[in-house]
Amino acid sequence: MTDRQGDAVDSFRDYLERLAERGVCNRIDQRISWNLEASAVTMRANEQDSAIPVFEDVSDDSSARLVGDPYRGARRKPWKRIAMALGLSEDLTTDSFYEAVIDRLRSPISPTVVDSEAALCKETVHTGDDVDLLSFPWPFLHVGDGGRYSNLHTLIADDRDTEWTDWSSHRAMFHDNTRASVLLLAGEQTPNIYYYKYERHDEPMPVAITVGAEPAVECVSMMWIPTGRSEAEFAGGLKRAPVELVPCETNDLRVPATAEIVLEGRILPNSRLDEGPYGDYFGYMHGPRRSMPVLEIDAITHRERPHIPFTVEWSEVGYAHNTTSSMEVACVGPDATLGLRAVGFDVEKLAPWPFTPRTVYVVSTDTTNPSYLHELANFIFTTWGMLHVDFFVFVDSDVDPFDQRAVLEAMALYADPDEDFHQFGAETMPKVPLNIYQTPEEKGDVQMGTSKAKTAKTYIDATRPEGQGQERGFGLEDTERRRRAREILEAAGLASAAAETADADREVDE
């Protein structure tokens, strides 16, 4: 099956058009307030797997528009809309989608730089006294939140000591016309650069936050791109075309030229503002309210009537998807799979746990001996995103890590409590304070965004004993009889939707 179905979109706005062409973009002209209403509507849309809401009218004071969870995938295919954005077929199987993304990441394409006149994000430019963060309708997402947020964007920062530019995603809570607090959790790349380089030298870190950048950019900012590698090149690889960058107005950074909004500024050293509480991705309102670094805004550029995409965190907990969970599947999954293969691990697929983003991942692998799994787990837990992640579950390569029933069955039947649950020490490992199982005292002073008390990381070996085959009932290997059985069922009227099975089974048809 070919993965080439068309060109990737070049802008967020084009992406919305592509959604509209497929009838899955709901432009709402009715006034919906940025103050909880837009979030509530988005939550309901997420729950019902409905079209993506575009709120055309959210404020008397701004012509900007809100877009609720624009990358939320379909319930059974979370990667579907990201595939569409990248010009990939929406009918791919999980395996085919993964391999298509991996293939593209293996072929980076350098960005091009355009003049400001050619950059859509420069249609309007605000600098100096003209800067007013609160002139934009940033959404207030949950009634218990500490403030209004931008939570679906790409934060761009240069490494202080090298030529490397990091793209990442760190939410920002707005405090006044020019200031925001940014959630920077030590252990991740950009926070490390800030805490251990810029701040140690008492220097501000120049940053740009691009809101509504093109999908390939958003995807890469979610990925675990290795330090020193060009994120822009990977984005180019993903879209099979160069990403257009444009210089900022007030610093030396370059930003995606088609972004809806660009916030240029500096994250100040040794300066903090409150951040949170926040209804977060694991379904609980965690605390306590933290002190986080201060972003001072120097310039704002934007397109006319810009779109502000946002995600309703916590709505992905359970059965529904949102942008976060969909991007975990569509971006982090293939990227991490590629990363593990690149360093020599025999990994079939890495899949995020669908009910709890960023906390647990399932990895299928052909090689299942204990020392190999220990090495694999040990390697993963040392990487930069792992302060969020507490668990990995390993399953055999013939178990689809996206087939949650099969994964649960493997855990229940093949994970021996005596031998297959492995912790790297009882309490030896770091943890971000975004958790609910530690007391406030254990979280302690979170100046660096890590908990005072250490925790454990665990991997679960849910692979079968050596030589034990997969027991899933009669006829699993009898593909001809299975095909005939399906024909009988479909002839009898079994709905095609009901006939959908896990990818592992669907390979029968391919």
Partner: protein, 463 residues
């Protein structure tokens, strides 16, 4: 008094609920298992095979249910609810209470006439499908009735046809069944007959109790060859135990789920006569396939039994619900309970381990967690339980659990309980509020959204 629904009435109710697929195409006996397995794998409806080689009409999935891991609106217990005479959208609690009813109170069945008539059919001409190509015709989810003292005892039974007048049966060991005993093998019995019988033998084999009995007012009875049997049985074989050392009864993937919970023995029955109702319906289970009838039935019945036992153990009823999800093939027990005091979670989990040999893993949830939403436990297990403090492993000296397959040598092993509850010693301010639609948006906002929702232009998903 319950709605005493026969197997046939249960299947009719599934049809009325649009949860039954009639396969009118002629399906060879050797293809029935494959079709039934595909329907189960596809989360499809129950399947009735109206055109087969013999007398019987096999029905697969009559007690099964769809997986709930990815389907929020599904209730895996819905067909068992239907079979028991409950509404199809009955809550989990209601189904569990119905299944556990014989534990709470003994009720007497109504005595009526047997609906099956004598037949010229023999064991082969009935047309029972095999579990796999080349295997003998098989039966599952039956009840074997025999006289024991002054009562008729019912056993869960599965087996296969071994001759024109001979069947081989797997039954619980030490059941009181003796060589040459006269027996009635009943197929197509009411759902309540199956759950009552399972309840009795699960409890007896794991706690030694002889309560509850297998009979209740949910299953009208009749006399067949001097033995008390479910009056609405679709097919009855009558005969005698011919061989108590019949050898093995091969099975796909270990047999039926109830066999995981107890020792079994294999007996051959010499069949003297066959009786059946007109166009008899019999359940057919494609053993080993995920989410099949037997797994759902044992999951619900064992949950009901455990729920009753633990809530009648400490003099109070702390447990809200217990589930052995079929999705986890009975290897894990999920329980929602009030945590009465620090350490109660240990007592609770070890009580459950003591009462059931099936599982070696328990997930404990707070009492306000819904039994109808499997996704919340699958979130809480990772985010609420401290990875090093709340994953509690026993010494590797516990009796081996029977559902897991990582070790089959019977050697002792460890048990695990995961405490995904709030520590009762924590100050209230430590407790992170659960984020929900209701807690995230004031009533006024929710009302506004509800009022304008129909005008916002949301259509159904593109999928």
């Amino acid at each position: 008094m319950t709605d005493a629904r026969s197997f046939r009435e249960g299947v009719d109710a599934l049809a009325a609920n649009d949860d039954l697929l009639d396969v009118d195409e002629r399906v060879s006996d050797e293809d029935v298992a494959a079709v039934a397995a595909e329907a189960a794998r596809s989360n499809g409806p129950a399947v009735r095979f109206t055109e087969t080689s013999g007398v019987v009409t096999p029905v697969s999935g009559a007690f099964a249910g769809p997986e709930q891991v990815t389907q929020s609106s599904e209730r895996p217990w819905k067909r068992i609810a239907t079979a028991l005479g409950l509404e199809t959208d009955a809550s989990y609690r209601r189904v569990v209470e119905r299944v556990a009813a014989p534990l709470a109170a003994a009720t007497e069945p109504a005595e009526t006439d047997l609906l099956a008539d004598p037949s010229d059919a023999d064991c082969y001409s009935l047309g029972l499908p095999p579990l796999e190509p080349g295997a003998p015709p098989a039966f599952t989810l039956g009840v074997l009735a025999f006289e024991h003292g002054d009562e008729t005892r019912w056993l869960p039974v599965r087996g296969s046809v071994r001759g024109t007048h001979r069947v081989r049966a797997v039954v619980p060991a030490d059941s009181g069944l003796t060589s040459s005993a006269e027996v009635s093998l009943c197929l197509g019995v009411p759902g309540a007959a199956v759950t009552n019988t399972l309840l009795h033998w699960l409890d007896r084999s794991q706690t030694g109790s002889i309560r509850p009995g297998t009979k209740s007012d949910a299953v009208p009875t009749a006399t067949h060859e001097g033995r008390v049997v479910p009056a609405t049985s679709e097919v009855l074989f009558s005969g005698r135990v011919a061989d108590f050392e019949a050898g093995s009864e091969p099975s796909v993937d270990g047999g039926t789920a109830w066999e995981l919970a107890m020792e079994t023995e294999v007996v051959d029955v010499s069949v003297d006569a066959v009786a059946h109702r007109e166009s008899p319906l019999v359940p057919f289970v494609p053993l080993g396939t995920p989410l099949t009838d037997d797994v759902q039935l044992v999951g619900i019945t064992e949950s009901a039994r455990l729920n009753y036992r633990v809530n009648n153990y400490w003099g109070i009823e702390p447990v809200e619900w217990i589930r052995l999800p079929a999705e986890m093939s009975l290897g894990m027990c999920v329980v929602a309970s009030e945590i009465l005091y620090a350490g109660f979670e240990w007592q609770l989990s070890n009580t459950l381990f003591a009462f059931s040999s099936l599982f070696d893993k328990i997930l404990i949830l707070d009492e306000n967690t819904s039994a109808a939403d499997l996704s919340r436990p699958l979130d809480d297990i990772w985010v609420k339980a401290h990875p090093s403090q709340d994953w509690v492993f026993s010494e590797p000296s516990a009796p081996a659990a029977t559902a897991p397959r990582y070790r089959t040598d019977g050697e002792p092993g460890s048990r695990l309980f995961i405490n995904a509850t709030w520590d009762p010693r924590w100050d209230e301010e430590y407790i992170a509020p659960r984020v929900t639609y209701e807690t995230s948006y004031p009533e006024e906002v929710r009302r506004t959204v509800a009022e304008m929702w129909s005008n916002l232009g949301f259509d159904s998903s593109d999928d």
